[in-house]
Amino acid sequence: MNYLMEILPSLLAGLKMTLGVFFLTIIGSVPLGIIVSLGMKSPYFTIRWIINGYIWIMRGTPLLLQLIFVYYGLGMIGITFPRFEAAVIAFIINYAAYLAEIFRGGLQSMPRGQYDAAKVLGFNKFQTFFKIILPQVIKIIVPSFGNEVINLVKDTSLVYVIGLGDILRAGNIAASRDVTLLPYLLVGLIYLLMTAIVTVALRRSEKRLNIWR
């Protein structure tokens, strides 16, 4: 117990880094994902082509590799970011691609009649999207969105590759210094706690959305 209290401060410092990447990624990737999903339906071939290429790369290569490219790769051609910013950028563009695919699925499941009803009532495209379509799409995609959020909690551990000290790295350092598995156990528990919180939050929002069908 004493030992756990001893390593807790360094784990909590790592947790701060993990949570920072987590929240900034959510804040950045959700709007970007919506924009990308709308771009997939663009009438311009070039835009669709660029977006499909972007999604192909983001989903077709490991996130670990993307982190390395954003930090070291872009650095080599003169575009440098601090480590934390580089990690957040890599996570946002990666998660936006996955979220865009989820939004696209939600958008495709919207019946044509909803757009027609909005049009005959005089709503413009902007109002139609935000007042009528988006709330229904959100309800449809909450479960798959939740999956991505939980994946993100765990994926944040990849930031070690560009030298950031997240919670798993803090556990790693303590474990090899003191030759014990206990720090890993504690780290595992903290991840479980985080995913439990996310799960409960998602269940609640699903329940709130279930007042209409």
Partner: protein, 212 residues
């Protein structure tokens, strides 16, 4: 008054109707009858601005309604066959959403107007329910209320009796008569000849009175 002049609609080489002329006078109830798949719904969609026509003119109370798909107004109120209510909004929200957001009507005023319409339609006690909690006939009345809230110059129904039982069908007929009493111009698309003759001032036979 609605005047449709020389309206033509084609899909590729398939002519749905040609040089269609039709007039609906103010306060009149006109039914367009004919078997399904004959192009009645296409006509009503062109009228509502959801479809384009190849040529022809539509005049509504002296204003030309473009038929090239560039319209974004609520001059024609449309009651869809499957209603297309917004599932995430309650009855009252479905009705006030367009007045508040499109017409920029004050929320309190919009609510009051919606309540008046719901009272006319006998639906005031359903104001706070969601669409999934309503029967088919009730959903239809919400769809009518939602269209009326935008003060359309004509109200068009697409197959209003499909999927309704006898009692609900009679109720639709009563609503049409009530709205006629208030001076609302109405256009009804239906394959139900009996219903058409019961509720309308004039019946237009889409099968025989239209050129193709």
């Amino acid at each position: 008054m609605l005047e449709i002049k020389k309206l033509t609609k084609k899909y590729d080489t398939n002519t749905i109707f040609r040089d269609l002329n039709l007039t609906v006078n103010d306060g009149e109830v006109l039914s367009i009858v004919g078997p399904s798949g004959i192009g009645k719904t296409t006509l009503i969609k062109i009228l509502a601005g959801l479809e384009t026509a190849n040529s022809g003119h539509i005049m509504l109370n002296g204003d030309e309604l473009p038929v090239d798909g560039t319209r974004f107004d609520a001059k024609v109120g449309l009651i869809f066959q499957d209603f297309n209510l917004f599932p995430q909004y309650t009855v009252i929200e479905n009705i006030t959403l367009a007045p508040i957001n499109v017409r920029k009507t004050d929320k309190v005023v919009a609510r009051q107007q919606a309540n008046n319409i719901l009272t006319t339609l006998g639906m005031l006690d359903k104001a706070d329910l969601y669409p999934y909690q309503l029967s088919g006939g009730q959903k239809q009345r919400v769809a009518i209320a939602r269209a009326l809230a935008m003060n359309p110059q004509i109200l068009a129904y697409d197959e209003p009796t499909s999927g309704l039982d006898e009692v609900a069908t009679k109720q639709v007929g009563d609503i049409v008569q009530t709205l006629k009493g208030q001076g609302v111009t109405q256009l009804i698309i239906t394959h139900d000849q009996t219903f058409a003759e019961m509720v309308s001032d004039r019946v237009f036979d889409f099968a025989t009175e239209v050129q193709r």
